[in-house]
């Protein structure tokens, strides 16, 4: 290769190719970084939006929680007006019926918590248990009936969760969720 050609390649052609190569690579890298940033921005906006929506849902349906929280700060100067506002808000939600959702769920769970094996048995064998309950309503307790400490957590006899009265033990429904007593 002649000196002129070598000089031309070294000082004019090669640097241009290098720069062109660099130009070719850098946009994809930059695009990747930009894509990452855009995705982060999008996800951040989504999450921030979700947090605001969740806060609004809780403020509407769990206004009591807001009132109780404001109550914790009632001592402070900043807390007093907050408490007044949260009480007014809670009252408004009560009137609008938004608080009913939580109350319904709570009462449903309370029913489940207080259910006893006898209630469970009555759910599966509704007809005989119902008939038996009516039959037993007028009976008086016998002397050897167990004390009130027995909560009916487990049936004394296994048969349908009800006792047939042979050993003097009567079925109890004190905690019946269905209201049977």
């Amino acid at each position: 290769m002649s000196f002129a050609l070598e000089f031309r390649k070294k000082h004019f052609t090669a640097p241009t190719a290098k720069v062109a190569g660099r130009r070719k690579r850098s946009p994809s890298k930059r695009r990747k970084a930009e894509d990452g940033c855009a995705e982060t921005r999008g996800a951040r906006a989504t999450m921030l939006g979700a947090l605001v929506v969740a806060a609004a849902i809780l403020a509407i349906f769990n206004s009591e929680g807001l009132r109780l929280y404001a109550g914790d700060w009632a001592e402070s100067q900043f807390g007093r007006p907050l408490l007044a506002v949260s009480e007014a808000w809670d009252g408004a939600m009560q009137r609008a019926g938004a608080k009913n959702v939580e109350e319904h769920v709570r009462s449903f769970v309370t029913g489940l918590r207080e259910a006893r094996w006898t209630d469970l048995a009555s759910a599966f064998w509704a007809a005989p248990v119902g008939a038996r309950t009516i039959e037993l309503k007028g009976e008086t307790s016998t002397a050897d009936e167990p004390s009130d400490r027995y909560t009916g957590a487990l049936p004394r006899t296994a048969k349908h969760g009800l006792d047939d009265g042979a050993d003097g033990v009567r079925p109890r429904f004190e905690h019946s969720a269905s209201g049977v007593r």
Partner: protein, 493 residues
């Protein structure tokens, strides 16, 4: 500040918004996260923030010294001194009272009663966790896994990052610090996964753990002699479920919150009660602690590379110290000893157990009807064996939980006696509690990627849908859960 409170909700909303605004200024973002982590910690007792800062400073200084020290001997001395300082702080706050009481008892028994310098020491919350984080950093720098940090901000953030500060998971320095070097990113999958983890964690803690604690476990462990065998048995299974839901619930929330801030934490629990051996159990239970103990205690002791006897010794020491880490009481030490002994026995049994013949070893019968029947029989036998192993492992773990939960050894004995006595009235075995325990245990056998699959469905949802899922999810959990927020069990450790 507890996770399932409105205070934390407001705190997180502010932190999330500001932290991502600062994402283009990494140093400012780190400084902000350190500051809010100290606010989070100071909510319990602001005086202990100085202790947290001191611990971070010690470990940062140790890292810098390791970076400039060339000789092996010097580096070893630095790492030993740093570990001793870390353990010294932990020992003083956590074990001083226990050692003084034990020493006083011992002196009284040998007739040398003395007035010992007893002190009323408040246990700083999360001290066991941030001490382990500090040790992890120094040892990882010493081992060359990570370079010593030049910026104290990174070390301070690693040790005090609020999602993992008070009850773990114990994040490794080599896992967390490299994440601080890159620009934090948030993807839609991380958002969906974070929301799901937060909801699942809240449900586990607020509903399952709190109901079991209130209505079953606290009562039976307070006075076991007042309850019959079935109550105590359900109470024991209930505690197994409670501690799992309590702690894994906290870990889920912590992982979810960290993910939403752009940091990845490894899972801390993987359906532990489906384990068919204790070895498997420790690979699934509190993974960050068991792997920490394996890498920073068991292996430095020699691990399983120095013969059978030394392997058993190392296992015993590791589990014993693991028990002591959980609390300064003999009950925790015995709990660790039970696990250590059982792991050793399991290894012994496995060493003598013949290798099971695979079902396809019945090649002599080919794939004809006889081969299929025998293969099915072998498979059935294996399935039964596995089920039996899971049952035995679970009950073994539950037996050890009695020592972990009971306040004293007398109560442990009363509990064990009560478990054998089925004559009294049954009070706590209600359908609700039985269903709660059974369903929670059954959940261990669903697919391990269940959460990921649900998260994947939420990945492309908009802010409104995600907000509705989060808002109504929290509303439902609060409506179903018992009133009040009980502290997490692992806050005491």
């Amino acid at each position: 500040m507890l996770f399932p409170t409105l205070s934390f909700g407001i705190f997180f909303l502010i932190v999330f918004a500001i932290a991502w605004e600062l994402s283009t200024w990494p140093q400012t973002r780190k400084a902000f996260l350190v500051a809010v982590s100290y606010v989070f910690y100071g909510f319990w007792d602001w005086r202990f923030t100085a202790l947290l800062a001191t611990s971070s400073l010690i470990n940062y200084a140790a890292g810098r010294l390791l970076a400039i020290t060339v000789s092996d001997k010097g580096r070893r001395q630095i790492v030993v001194a740093a570990i001793a300082l870390n353990l010294g702080i932990l020992g003083f706050f956590k074990y001083y009272g226990f050692f003084m009481e034990s020493l006083s008892d011992l002196l009284t028994r040998v007739g040398l009663e003395r007035d010992l310098p007893f002190l009323e020491i408040i246990l700083p919350i999360g001290i066991s966790f941030f001490t382990f984080h500090g040790i992890s950093y120094v040892v990882d720098v010493y081992r060359g896994k990570i370079p010593a940090e030049e910026s104290p901000l990174d070390v301070f953030l690693y040790i005090s990052f609020f999602p993992q500060l008070v009850a773990g998971p114990i994040v490794r320095a080599s896992d967390f610090l490299p994440q601080l070097k890159t620009e934090p990113r948030l993807e839609r999958s991380m958002v969906a996964n974070g929301i799901m983890l937060i909801l699942i964690g809240l449900f586990k803690k607020m509903v399952i753990a709190n109901y079991l604690a209130n209505e079953l476990v606290d009562g039976v462990f307070f006075d076991p002699s007042a309850f019959s065998g079935p109550d105590l048995l359900l109470g024991l299974y209930g505690y197994a479920v409670q501690i799992y839901c309590d702690f894994s619930g906290y870990s889920d929330i912590a992982i979810g919150v960290a993910g939403l801030l752009g940091y990845h934490f490894k899972p801390n629990f993987a359906q532990p009660y489906r384990s068919a051996s204790l070895r498997e159990f420790w690979r699934r239970w509190h993974i960050s602690l068991s792997s920490w103990l394996r890498d920073y205690l068991y292996k430095p002791l020699g691990g399983s590379y120095q013969g059978t006897a030394k392997t058993y010794r190392n296992l015993g020491i590791t589990m014993l110290l693991g028990g002591l880490w959980h609390g300064a009481a003999w009950t925790f030490i015995i709990w660790g000893a039970i696990h250590g002994t059982a792991l050793v026995m399991e290894r012994m049994l496995l060493a003598f157990k013949p290798q099971p013949a695979p079902a396809l070893a019945l090649v002599g019968y080919g794939y004809g009807p006889m081969g299929r029947v025998l293969a099915a029989g072998a498979f059935g036998g294996q399935a039964f064996g596995k089920a039996l192993a899971v049952f035995v492992t679970f009950n073994m773990v539950c037996l050890a939980w009695i020592f972990f939960r009971a306040e004293s050894l007398e109560l442990v004995m009363a509990y064990l006696r009560g478990l054998a006595d089925w004559s009294g009235p049954i009070e706590r075995v209600t359908p609700f509690l039985v269903a709660l325990v059974t369903a929670s245990l059954a959940a261990h056998f669903i697919s391990e990627d269940f959460v990921q699959r649900i998260s994947a469905r939420l990945e492309h949802a908009g802010a409104l849908t995600l907000g509705a899922v989060l808002g109504f999810g929290i509303l439902l959990i609060f409506a179903v859960a018992p009133e009040g927020v009980a502290p997490f069990i692992y806050f005491h450790f």
